[in-house]
């Protein structure tokens, strides 16, 4: 095992162990996601439910808000007791720190999605049986892209001693292409019953690839104790 992989696994282990022992992020974020779905469900009412569109939009709102809260919390852990200063002094590439932080954020966001998605699908009567795999692929790719940007920005925002809200403001507009593309693909798949082509999915792949690479490259510039 190369040192980079060993460091990567150690860092993820640290994050997940902290979460398992303190349980301060996951519970909070899951409940927030569920609350958002209930509020939007009550607000939109049954009469405004368009198959494939309403549920996607509601899920996006839930993912975005709970995701941003998740990134804020996991980065705040690094700030306490000078953990980040220790990490920065350790002889390792800062790209590894980014990838480890991204992976632990992804694990948490996917865990939230595992609870929030069935709730959204259930409450909004979203019939996934036409193309469950397409739904999972679109949402999975979107979450990866969204988390890659969120992890980078959470590192910047946490070092500026700013109050909450700024991270959401930075992440939401950047994520809009994912929201637009995934919503259009859901409409195409579940309302118009047309299978989604590779070219449409390519936008999501491109987003993930571009922002993973860009974030990985600029991460070392933004990380300061």
């Amino acid at each position: 095992m190369t040192p980079a992989i060993r460091q990567f696994i150690t860092l993820i282990g640290k994050d997940l162990r902290i979460e398992a022992r303190s349980r301060q992020t996951l519970g909070l974020v899951v409940v927030l996601g569920l609350l958002i779905i209930v509020v939007l469900g009550l607000g939109l009412g049954v009469q405004n439910n368009v198959p494939g569109v309403s549920a996607t939009a509601v899920l996006w709102v839930a993912y975005l808000f709970s995701g941003v809260l998740c990134f804020e919390k996991t980065m705040a852990v690094e700030r306490s007791d000078g953990v980040l200063s220790g990490l920065l002094m350790a002889p390792m590439d800062r790209g590894v720190i980014y990838l480890a932080k991204l992976t632990s954020n992804l694990i948490l966001v996917f865990a939230v999605a595992m609870v929030v998605t069935p709730a959204g699908v259930l409450f909004f009567g979203f019939d996934l049986s036409a193309a469950p795999l397409t739904f999972a692929t679109i949402m999975g790719l979107s979450i990866i892209g969204f988390t890659s940007v969120g992890t980078l920005f959470s590192a910047i925002v946490s070092s500026t001693r700013l109050q909450g809200g700024l991270l959401a403001m930075m992440v939401f507009p950047i994520t809009l292409p994912l929201v637009i593309a995934s919503t259009q693909m859901m409409v195409q798949t579940f309302r118009d019953r047309n299978p989604v082509g590779v070219s449409s999915l390519g936008i999501l792949f491109a987003f993930d690839l571009i922002f993973l690479t860009a974030s990985w490259l600029v991460f070392e510039f933004v990380l300061e104790p």
Partner: protein, 235 residues
């Protein structure tokens, strides 16, 4: 030197004003009235050049952000701020003229058509850039945060374009123009570009000056050093 600069600036703004004057003449007197759209079609001469200049301003912003991140020279940050401000202003012009057009052509101020959505997302991306900058106190952190966000925001632009193409479209993709209309449209790139460039340079110079003032205030030699009231002794 100051006087030469001031004369140059005055000359530049006079030429820009004259260019706008001639542009207005071309719109009102020279270009014919379009049959189906009527007078509203004339805002198209401002709409398209503003859209192109918006994109150019954001492109320069992207270059300036990369410049700052790689060299950490303050003037890159001043340039990035100036281009983003002018870009947002131009993008607002694009949105407003586009909405006036849409009201006449499609009967409503706003539809979620690809190009309208694209302009709106572009506007949002850079309004957030300005907001993010203004909410950070420290100069260096602000510049760094702005540079990273600016790079990510510009990389987002082609993706927004690709994603909006999935939406159903009603926007005209090509427009038949009479020769006089083509001349007017081509001409309008001149005043809009002159105005954008002038505003960017003016804002850039103002940024540089305010940075110099802040720097002077921090190391003001007129302040007494080492004298404390409580102890009453000089060190």
């Amino acid at each position: 030197m100051l006087r030469i600069n001031r004369t140059l600036a005055w000359g530049y703004w006079l030429i820009t004003a004259a260019a706008f004057e001639l542009g207005l003449f071309l719109i009102l007197d020279y270009a014919p009235v379009e049959k189906s759209m009527g007078l509203v079609q004339k805002n198209f001469y401002v709409h398209l050049p503003s859209a192109i200049c918006t994109f150019l301003a954001f492109l320069v912003n992207f270059v300036a952000c990369i410049g700052y991140l790689s060299t950490r020279k303050d003037w890159w940050d001043d340039l990035a701020d100036a281009t983003a401000r002018v870009g947002v202003l131009l993008c607002s012009v694009v949105l407003i003229t586009g909405m006036i057009w849409g009201k006449t052509a499609w009967g409503q101020w706003w539809t979620w058509s690809p190009r309208l959505t694209f302009s709106l997302v572009l506007w949002l991306l850079y309004v957030v850039y300005l907001m993010v900058r203004s909410s950070v106190e420290s100069g260096q952190r602000r510049a760094l945060l702005g540079a990273v966000y600016g790079i990510i925001a510009f990389l987002d632009v082609p993706l927004v374009w690709l994603s909006v193409k999935l939406m159903p479209d009603i926007h005209p993709t090509s427009i038949e123009l009479a020769p006089a209309m083509k001349v007017t449209l081509a001409y309008w790139f001149l005043p809009v570009t002159l105005l954008s460039l002038g505003l960017i340079v003016a804002r850039y110079r103002s940024n540089v000056r305010s940075r110099a003032v802040k720097h002077d205030a921090q190391v003001d030699p007129a302040q007494p050093v080492g004298f404390t009231l409580a102890g009453g002794k000089l060190s």
